[in-house]
Structures are given as structure tokens and as C-alpha cells.
Symmetry: C2
Subunit: 270 residues, 2 copies
Amino acid sequence: METSTFPIVLVGAGNLATNLGCALSRAGFPILQVYSRSQESASALAGRLGCEATTNPEKLTADAELYIVALKDSALETLLPEMLRGREERFWVHTAGSIPLNIWERVPGVKRYGVLYPMQTFSKARLVDFRSIPILLEANAPAQMNLLKEVASTLSDNVREVSSRQRRAIHMAAVFACNFTNHCYALAEKLLAAEGLPFEILLPLIDETARKVHTLPPKEAQTGPAIRYDENVIQKHLDALSAEPKMQTLYRLLSQSIHEAAREKLKGKK
Amino acid sequence: METSTFPIVLVGAGNLATNLGCALSRAGFPILQVYSRSQESASALAGRLGCEATTNPEKLTADAELYIVALKDSALETLLPEMLRGREERFWVHTAGSIPLNIWERVPGVKRYGVLYPMQTFSKARLVDFRSIPILLEANAPAQMNLLKEVASTLSDNVREVSSRQRRAIHMAAVFACNFTNHCYALAEKLLAAEGLPFEILLPLIDETARKVHTLPPKEAQTGPAIRYDENVIQKHLDALSAEPKMQTLYRLLSQSIHEAAREKLKGKK
């Protein structure tokens, strides 16, 4: 069987499933079916991919070769037995950063399984180019790994094998580098909005902050009042945040953390 | 007098003074002198600009038209009287995000003063292109504002007038969007290093996170376990961070803050 005619079922219709499904479809893989608990989501993605939608895990087709599960972690664990029953002979992969490979062993009889974790921030409204996205793979045997590498390589030039433990560390790192970073953008937007200023004013700074760590390690790239330990500025900002106690706490703890990292770096140099 | 022959003194030789001095010099402004408390810093920047260096504020030349002060906030406040004595007739500006315009009124006799705040993350090792950097201006009178606009416009296409209060809000927003963001990158690097993984693996994600907010507001762009409120993942990550209690606290508070922002957004839609 040629890789490019490998029939696939998508279990999930969220941000990741949408982006992955569209990318696989564009790469020539026939998507047979989309499952989601929500009819609306299932139909929306199935419509984009021109395939069948289902909200009933028992109605999952048994005709696909590869089943890609992109559900919220808790949903994956709950649905696992029902999804797999009668389809134990198929090749199952999940896409979660922090679920170990051996979750598949909970269902007796499953012989071929793995993980395909594309590390990116996905939104349905914004289809991303997979070419440079790291796709992190794990599989229960070399044959499965080879097959996953073939599939992933049609999407990305940045495919690598990692252990479950490494993948979890990467997922945590991604939470810091992406989710928490984006929330810092959101908190910044809130501060600007209170003074009638547009968020766009920050874009050159946001872009340079991201660009900078392509050439300097983040510790070298750090600037601002906390790394200078400019207590005047820090205190002014904490005072100005007094009406927002939670932002004030975040400001204080992040500034302390920056300052401590700088002290450790200095000690390392001595 | 033509703007482009406006002689300038730089008080300060740090990251901002270095970047600003080099940009002004390239734009044709003669830099007469650089002051810094540290001989090493003063000489390094004066060497780059081909001008005189001094570490003695009393030896500041009185021959310049514009004095640009780019010092740590506490140093500016301490040095203020000494710097200005005998040079009260000159035009003084500072470059600080969170120091109000009226700081100049502390010294009697100063008649022309303002603020020129370029909002960017500056490192000596990395000269940035000023063209798209927002330069935020404030001045004590229209004549001074016009002059600052002329100077700033030779450097950037993104010049705007803001009040001291707005500037402080912008500075705080910049701390969140740049300094805290960069620290999130540094914490991510630490998590990867512990598993022998290179920081570079995160660059496509970091880039997309920054790019995404050019087209989606940060609240719409948010992804990850906290916005999904995927307690399974959050708890796994908190457990994995048990040896790093400060990172664990940051993880918990940032996740809560993301979750609360999402709830507020939902309420707003109802």
C-alpha cells in the first residue's frame, strides 16, 4: 500500500484535528470519517474534508488503516475502550503532548500504536503551514515508527523520535513558550485598553522578542526593569496594578523569577 | 539650524543608549559626547560613535543642543541636578517608559524638556532597525514637540505623542509582552535542557505565537490545556514541576489567569 493512499479516520474535530486533517488531506491522504462528540464540530470538519461525520464512537468505520485521535486528554481516556472495540487490528495514534505511549496498552489486543504530536498552536480559524512544525513521534515497534515517519514527512521537514518523558517536557515547554506567552500578550492588551491604546502598538516589540531568540539564548536576550533590578520602576508598576491584584501577583513573581535567573547566570560565570 | 546637524549628547551607554546612539549617528546627527558611570561602557559606545567619553557629569559639554538621558531610572533621579547645572538652557529629554515628564521640573531654570521613549527590547549585541519601532513623545511645549517629532521621524515611521500616564501603561504592557514573554522562553529552555533537548525545537512555535496576534486578538489566539481547562494535563504538569516549586507556582497562577480571562470572555458574549 502506498503511503499516499493510506485511509485515515480522525477522532476529534478541534483546533488540532482541523489543522492536521486539512494538512493530511492536502498531502493526498483520504480521510474517511471524522468523529466528534459535538455534531456541529464533526460536521464542520467533515464538510471541509468531504467525508462522513459521526458523533457515535460505535459507528466509527473499521475500514481505515490509521486512526488519529486528537481529543482533550480526559475525553481520550474515557472513550478509549469504546473506540477501539472491534478495531483492535488497526493502527492507533494519539496526538497529545502529555499522554504516554503506553496508554494504548489499557485495551487488550491493540498491537500497533503510537503518538504523532505536532508541536504548534492551532486554531480552526487559521490553518498553519506544517512544513517547519516539529512533529514528534513515538511508536510501539520499528514498523509502526517507519510508517509514522512516512506520514509525518509528507507534512513536515522537522520530524523526530522522542520518548514519552521527553514529549511531556516539550509539551510543558510549549505551554510556557506559547500559551503563557500569549496570555502575557492578552494581559498587555488589557493594560493598553484601559488607557485607550491599541494592541497593535506592541507588535514590533512582540516580533523582535520572538526574533531575538533565534540568535541569542533567552537568558542573554532578557531586558527590562526586572533584569536591571530597577526597583523604582518595579515599585511604580506594582502600585499602578493595585486595582488588579492577580496581575500584580504575576508581575511580582515573574520579576522575582527573572531576577533569580540572572543571579544564577552570574554565579555560573564566576 | 537643520535637524540633521543637531548636536547631541548621550547620557548613558547601556542597551538603549547604544542602539539609539548608533541609529541617530547613522541618521546624520553628530554625537558630541557619551557619559556613563562606567569608563568601560562610556569608552565602548564613544568608540562606536567616534566621540568623546566621560564618567564625570560635571564634564558634560555645554555645546550640544539636545541631551538624551538613557539611564536606569534611579540613576537619572540621582544625577539630575548635577547633570543640568550650567546646562539649563539646553533641551533635555529622557527615554524612560515610567518616568513622568514633570521630573524635569525638579531642577529650576530648565525650560525645554521632553521624553523620547523608543519601545523596543534593546541589547548591545544586536542593533535593531528603528524604522518600525514606536517612538513615543512628550514635551513641555509645541516647539519642543515639533523638534522631537523631527528627530524621531528621521529614525522611525511610527512616532506618536502620548501622555505620561499612557506611556507608563505602554511600558507596563511592554514588560508583559516582552520581558515576561522572554522569561517564559527561558523557563521553557530550562525544561528542555533537563531532558537533553535543544531550545531551537521551540522556534516555530514561538514564531507562530507572535505572528498569530497580528491577525487574531490574543484572547482569540489562546490555546493549550489552561484555556481548554484540561485538568488532566494541568495536574500532570504541576506534578512534573514538583522539584521546581517557583515554576510550579507560576504555572498554576498563569493557568488560573488564562482560565479566568476565558470565563470573562464567555460572560461578555452572553
